[in-house]
Subunit: 270 residues, 2 copies
Amino acid sequence: METLTPKQREIRERERRILDVATPMIREHGMSAIKMDSIAQAMNLTRGTIYNHFPNKEEILMAMAGRAVARRMALFHFATTLADRPRWSCAAIGLAAEVYADHLPDDFAIEQMVRHDPVWQKTSPKRRTVLLDCEELCIQAIGSLIDAAIECGDLDGSTTTTIASLKQQITFGLWSLVYGGLVIEATSPSLVTSGIEEPRQAIRRNCNALLDQLDWRPHYKASEYNALVNRITPNLIVRANELQHEHFEGPSDLMLGAQTPNGGEKDHDS
Amino acid sequence: METLTPKQREIRERERRILDVATPMIREHGMSAIKMDSIAQAMNLTRGTIYNHFPNKEEILMAMAGRAVARRMALFHFATTLADRPRWSCAAIGLAAEVYADHLPDDFAIEQMVRHDPVWQKTSPKRRTVLLDCEELCIQAIGSLIDAAIECGDLDGSTTTTIASLKQQITFGLWSLVYGGLVIEATSPSLVTSGIEEPRQAIRRNCNALLDQLDWRPHYKASEYNALVNRITPNLIVRANELQHEHFEGPSDLMLGAQTPNGGEKDHDS
DNA sequence: CGATTTTTTTGACAAAATGTCAAATTTGAC
DNA sequence: GTCAAATTTGACATTTTGTCAAAAAAATCG
C-alpha cells in the first residue's frame, strides 16, 4: 500500500501544478482573477477535475498561502544561519523579509491576500492550522534569538518587567516595522509623492534604532551593518530562487491534502 | 442653476445612503459580500438604479474608502489639536489611529481592502486622486509636527544628513509601527497563541522607543504619557463617533461624484 | 392645468462564473 | 482480456454582473 501507482503519482503532481498555474494569475488582479476554468484549460483538463482536488477557489488560495509561508519560514531559518551573533541573525531575518518581498513577490502578495480576503471562513480548519503553525514558528524564531541574546549577555533581560514582555515588544515591533513597511511600500502609490523615496533604508534604520534603544548589543554601526548586508544578501537571493522551485512535499498530507473525490466520509455505510 | 430640485436632492442623498447600506455588508465577508442586488433591495430600488450612481462595485468600495480616509484625516487633525507640544501631538495621532481602528472598524477594514483588492485599476482616476491626496495630507501632518519640533528645539535636525531624510525615517517608522501593528493585530489569529497578548502596549512602547532613540524631546516618561492617554482618548472617541454620522459633503464633487446617467459631459454644448 | 420634453427607473436579457453529478472513460488487478 | 474501482467529463442549475430599450416619473412651459 505504500507504492504509488502511476496515476496516483500524477494526481499528486497535479495538485502542485494547479498551484503553480494559479499563482501568477492571482498576482495582477487578485482573488477574482482565479477562474477555475482558466486553470483547467491551462492544464488541458476540465473544471470538474480541478474540483476533485480543491472544493473551491478559497482552498486553492489557502494552499498557495501555505506553500508561501513555508517558503518564507525556510528563508528566515536559512537567514539566521548566515550570521553568528543574535542581533545579526535578527538583522538577517529582516533582510530575508526584503528578499522575500522582492524575489518571491507572488508569495508575498498571496500572504497579504489571505489575511484580508474573507477566505478564512470558507476554508477547512486543516489548511488554516498549517498556516497558523508556520506563522507561529516564524515568531518563535525571533523569540529564540532574543533568548540567545540574553543568554550570551548581549541583551539585558532585567530592564523590563518580564522577559516575556520584552520578547513581546521586540518581536511585535520588528514585525510591524518590516511587514508594515513592506506592505505600505507595496500598496501605497502616494509614498514617493509624499517624499518617502527610500522606504528600505527607513525600515532598516528604524529596526536598528529600535534595537539600539532597547540596548541589544552590539549597537548599530553603519560599516558593520552594511558589511553584513553585502555579505548575506546574495546568499538570500540564491536561496529564495531555489525555494521557488523546491517541491515542499514535506508536511505533505497537510500542505497538499489529496482528496479522494468520493470523499473520506464514504466508508460509514458501505 | 444653483437650487436643486427635490429629485436632484434625493439623488444626492441616495448616493450617501448607498455607502451607508454597503458598508456593514462588506465588513464580515469582504468585497464579494457586496451584491448590487442586495443593496438595491435594501433601499427598495432595482439594480439598474444603483448602476446609475456607480458603474460597478469597485467604485462603491472606492467611494467608501474615500469617506473613510477623510474621516481618518479629520480625526488625526483633531488629535493634533489636543496636545501642545509636537511630540505629544505625535503621540495623539498614534492614539487616534487606535481609536479609528476600534470605533470606526468598518472604515478601517475598508481602507485595508482597497489597498489589496484589485480595485485600484478598475476605478476612475478621480476617485483615486481623492484617496491619494487625503493620504498625503496625513503624511504631511506628521511632517509638519517634525518641522515644529525642530523649530522649537525639541528635535535636533543636524544629527542626520538632511532634514528630509529624518522626516522620511520618522514618518515611515511611525506609520509602519502603528498601521502595521494594527493590521497585524486585526488579521493575525496567531498573535495570542504566540504570546503577544498586548499588541497595543507594544505599539505604544515601540513608537516611544523610536522617538526617544532619535532624541525627540521630551523623552518618554510613563506618568506623563499615560496622563496624556487618559486625557485625550475620551475626546478622540467622542469625535470618532461624531464623524461616523457627519455628512462629509465637503469636497463634494469628488467625494460623492453624482453621475448624471447621461454623463457629465453633457454641458459642453448647452 | 395639461402637453411635451427631459430625466430616471425598471425589468428583461446576455454573459460569465460557480459548483454538482450521473454517465462515460480510463486505470489497475487478476 | 475482463471487470471493478477510480477518475474525468460535460451538461445542468444557480448566482451574479452589467446593459439597454421601453416604461414611468419629473420638470418645463405655453
